[in-house]
């Protein structure tokens, strides 16, 4: 067993996942890879197993956040020191893993985010997504006093302290962990850093966020952030 686990939540990603696993294996680093197959209806689980990685399969679909949390629970159970969450749809670049791990291990950060904007401010994405990211970035700066250039990035490295906190029941959203989780972690005095990362367009299939859903998503996120602030203030008053 190595001390680092790559967690790849996967839902119906049979087309993308073999390439992604190969690209991580090609790094030739001392890493274990875990695919959390979140109740896929295709052969994601079998195909990932055939690539020689560990696969935990949910009997039914629970959501992206819950799949990640299963990975955190497993990492805690097995005593891993570091985890990197890595999307299985091919949008993250395996070459960014070493720099994330380097910063995580040597610079005393609890969470290291792979940011697509750091060192590349002109990175082109859809306008709506750009506005949403900008909005959350400003919100985090106002509420938690930290400048995080890419709060919606799904490429993150976490140390044991951070993923153990996430692995406990109510501490992680079941659907999409996002700016709300970052604000909460900053409130709880976890250190969050960023490294530049490359993101690619999806190789195949449909993205998680699109259309009206993304508008509702922003509202849901606002409520979630508001609750974190409210609970934070309440617990301060109690203690």
């Amino acid at each position: 067993m190595n001390d680092t686990l790559i967690i790849m939540p996967a839902f119906n990603e049979e087309k993308n996942i073999p390439g992604v696993i190969k690209s991580i294996k090609n790094l030739d680093l001392p890493l274990d890879i875990l695919v959390v197959n979140d109740g896929s209806r295709d052969n994601t689980g079998k195909i990932a197993s055939a690539e020689g990685v560990d696969v935990i399969s949910h009997p039914c679909n629970l959501g992206y956040g819950a799949a990640l949390q299963t990975g955190f629970k497993y990492a805690e159970m097995r005593g891993y020191k570091y985890v990197v969450q890595f999307d299985s749809d091919g949008q993250h670049c395996a070459a960014d893993i070493p720099s994330i791990l380097d910063v995580l291990k040597n610079r005393k950060f609890d969470i290291v985010i792979g940011s697509r904007f750091l060192g590349n401010p002109n990175y082109s994405i859809r306008l709506s997504k750009r506005i949403a990211i900008k909005f959350f970035r400003i919100l985090i700066r106002i509420l938690a006093g930290s400048d995080i250039t890419d709060p919606t990035s799904g490429l993150k490295g976490l140390n044991a302290r951070a993923f153990r906190y996430h692995s406990s029941d109510q501490n992680y959203p079941q659907d999409f962990p996002d700016a709300d989780v970052l604000i909460k972690m900053l409130y709880l005095k976890y250190c969050i850093g960023e490294v530049p990362a490359h993101m690619m367009d999806r190789q195949s299939g449909k993205s998680m966020h699109s259309g009206l859903k993304s508008v509702l998503y922003i509202f849901k996120m606002m409520i979630s952030i508001f609750m974190i602030i409210l609970r934070g203030n309440l617990s301060k008053e109690v203690s």
């Binding site: 560990d54 935990i56 399969s57 949910h58 009997p59 949390q69 299963t70 629970k73 029941d169």
Partner: protein, 139 residues
């Protein structure tokens, strides 16, 4: 309120209590959850016995047409119960999530152990076949 209507409401109350009691006996609802339904049937009884309560309450709240108060109250009760169901659903959902995650992890660990022990599907079938054969312990 005429006597027929009062009688009708009273019968409704009785039917309602009997349904709740029946569900309780069959263990289809828990004692704790039955409280609110018994409370509701008690309200129906009280209303059929003293319909003037509605009139006085309506006057107190400044409602011109007393029956609207009844509708208002029923809608509020329904909304409250719906909210209560949402709460229970959320609780069940988070428990289900936890269970599913645990089952997935345990399944994975079980398979790893089986692989390490060289436990194949053929062996699995073998064991299943043997369960049926020569096992007359329960007969």
């Amino acid at each position: 309120m005429n006597i027929q209507l009062r009688l009708f409401i009273f019968v409704c109350g009785i039917m309602f209590s009997l349904i709740v009691l029946n569900l309780l006996i069959k263990k289809r609802i828990s004692e704790k959850n039955s409280l609110v339904w018994f409370g509701l049937s008690l309200c129906i009884f009280i209303l059929s016995a003293f319909p003037s309560i509605v009139d006085s309450a309506a006057t107190l709240l400044g409602i011109d047409y007393p029956p609207t108060l009844l509708f208002l109250m029923s809608i509020l009760v329904v909304i409250f119960m719906s909210l209560n169901h949402y709460i229970q659903l959320s609780v069940l959902n988070s428990r289900l999530k936890e269970m599913t995650q645990q089952v997935a992890i345990i399944n994975f660990r079980l398979k790893s152990i089986e692989n390490r022990l060289g436990y194949s599907e053929a062996l699995d079938e073998d064991i299943n076949n043997n369960i049926g054969k020569g096992n007359d312990g329960y007969e």
